[in-house]
């Protein structure tokens, strides 16, 4: 069964002469328990796809389904118990004046879930932190610890789908390794489905089973991620990205 189903997704901003179409007929299907990567350069529309699924934009057209439920314009509260998002920059995504405890309890309170204290400690342990972090503020945590808290905040409602928007690109390589391992472990333990946006093909090859390559609002190629290493990509743009990330051959400068 596919967990995320996107068909003919279109989105534009502005009207008349200023009309700017950002997504053109995007089709994607992500299976249950699958980790799916979405790559492309800045402005190619990859984060926009995530935002449509998260309900941050309402004026798109097309078909979106998550876990068999159609994504509607006015999303019901329980949509967010299925889908949660983790943002790029852990320095910007946690409220600076909320303790970790308050930040983690907020989604529980919104959804009227009891036993919050207990749930907060459980989730902190699950992401490799412990109760000593509960009453600290974000500025007392390192970047890697903050990203763990952001992941905990997304997981505390026990969602089935995580939308990951460049979850490691603001982190050092050594910390990136820890977070990638954590994401891989969590997926195995909880049977989560990931849709991850990144521009780092090595990260996709590491974490994802399949990926889609986007360019100027279109999906140009969908392929298995092991094909990246064996030069199995067929689209010229994908091959360019593979080459650029290997960083061996020099791409001539466009003159």
């Amino acid at each position: 069964m596919s967990m995320i189903e996107i068909a003919g997704l279109n989105l534009s901003f502005g009207t008349g002469a200023a009309l700017n179409a950002v997504l053109h007929d995007v089709d994607l299907s992500v299976g249950e328990g699958e980790a799916f990567g979405l790559v492309g350069e800045s402005g190619s529309g990859k984060t926009t796809v995530l935002r449509c699924l998260a309900g941050q934009y309402q004026h798109w057209s097309g078909q979106l389904r998550v876990a068999g439920q159609a994504v509607t314009r006015n999303l019901p509260l329980n949509h967010y118990r299925t889908v949660q998002m983790v943002f790029q920059d852990p320095y910007a995504s946690l409220h600076p004046r909320y303790t970790i405890d308050a930040a983690l309890q907020e989604p529980l309170r919104i959804h009227g879930i009891d036993g919050r204290g207990q749930k907060v400690s459980e989730i902190l342990r699950k992401v490799g932190l412990n109760d000593s972090f509960r009453f600290r503020y974000p500025h007392q945590l390192s970047g890697g610890q903050r990203q763990r808290v952001a992941i905990a905040r997304a997981l505390i409602l026990r969602p089935r789908v995580l939308l990951l928007d460049e979850p490691t690109s603001a982190l050092d390589v050594s910390v990136q390794a820890e977070i990638l391992n954590l994401l891989a472990d969590l997926r195995r333990q909880e049977g989560l489905t990931y849709l991850m946006v990144t521009h780092d093909l090595a990260v996709v090859a590491h974490l994802c089973d399949r990926l889609a390559v986007m360019q100027q609002g279109r999906v140009v190629e969908t392929l298995d991620s092991h094909l990246l290493a064996s030069d199995g990509a067929t689209h010229a743009y994908t091959r360019l990205l593979v080459q650029a990330s290997r960083d061996i051959q020099r791409i001539p400068i466009a003159v």
């Binding site: 092991h226 290493a229 020099r250 400068i253």
Partner: protein
């Protein structure tokens, strides 16, 4: 390596804050000739602090000491502020990480490049403009006349970074310090910017200090690599020999990188040894 442009021996940088002193850089030594020298390390390892102390860009709360801190024949520690101003931006300049934050948002980009030239040369404005246009063409900007009159928000990230490079190179410096010049850019644009830098380094008599946290990039772009940990240089190695790095920290950093060609189930996580702080 030809002549030595920069000589640094036992550089220490101390910050004093609310009665506490913290040592950000400890006993760093290196020399720079006509080459591309990389300084790599995690955030907080002191790599940018080293770059900034070469240009004396630190606030008065910083205490910079060194046995030697020499640029060409000038002692950078003893030099007066006036002498430093004649060097900074003219003979030694710095490229910052993000063009979005480093360019003046309300001045046309061409004017900003011309301004850098006028700050160090007494020439008519018209000549500075000509030079800025030449420089834009040198960094492979297709239509210099059009781009000259654009504002920073009207150019892309890669173009912005090439404009920054043009601004820093127009005064014909001998040393360029590039502080993470490509980490705000996409992979596909990154190569362009690196090619431009490489061209300039090989054309001119330039020494480049390339500050980065990206080991893969440094490996293919630079000649020599200094690896910093907690304010110290733990290893200095030729970029081509990075695979044979001996320090466990360097090895750990390399192993932690996910790889396109060699997938692994779990990435090894860096185990920090407290001994590295004093080694």
């Amino acid at each position: 390596m030809t002549e030595i442009k920069l000589a640094v021996q036992d550089l220490c940088v101390e910050f004093r804050n609310a009665g506490k002193t913290s040592l950000a850089v400890r006993d760093v030594s290196f020399t720079l000739g006509r080459e591309k020298l990389a300084i790599v390390g995690e955030s907080g390892s002191g790599k940018s602090t080293v770059g900034r102390s070469l240009l004396r860009l630190h606030p008065p709360t910083a205490r910079v000491t060194a046995k030697t801190l020499r640029f060409a024949d000038i002692d950078l520690l003893a030099a007066s502020e006036k002498q430093i101003q004649a060097i900074r931006g003219a003979r030694m300049s710095m490229i910052m990480q993000d063009p979005k934050y480093s360019l003046n948002p309300v001045v046309r980009v061409g004017e900003q490049i011309a301004e850098a030239y006028l700050a160090h040369h007494k020439v008519p404005h018209r000549e500075a403009r000509e030079r800025a246009l030449d420089m834009l063409a040198k960094v492979h900007i297709r239509d210099p006349l059009r781009v000259y009159d654009l504002y920073p928000h009207e150019v892309s990230g890669g173009m912005g970074q090439r404009i920054m490079i043009a601004m820093m190179v127009i005064t014909d410096p001998q040393v360029i310090i590039a502080d993470e010049p490509t980490s705000a850019l996409d992979v596909s644009v990154r190569r362009q910017v690196l090619n431009v830098l490489e061209e300039l380094v090989s054309e001119r008599d330039l020494g480049l200090i390339f500050i980065s946290h990206d080991l893969n990039l440094v490996r293919s772009f630079c000649d020599r690599v200094l690896v910093m940990y907690a304010g110290r240089v733990v290893e200095s190695i030729a970029a081509a020999d990075l695979d044979h790095a001996t320090h466990p920290y360097t090895q750990g950093l390399l192993a932690a990188l996910p790889s396109l060609d060699h997938p692994r189930a779990t990435l090894p996580v860096l185990q920090r040894d407290p001994l590295w702080l004093n080694a």
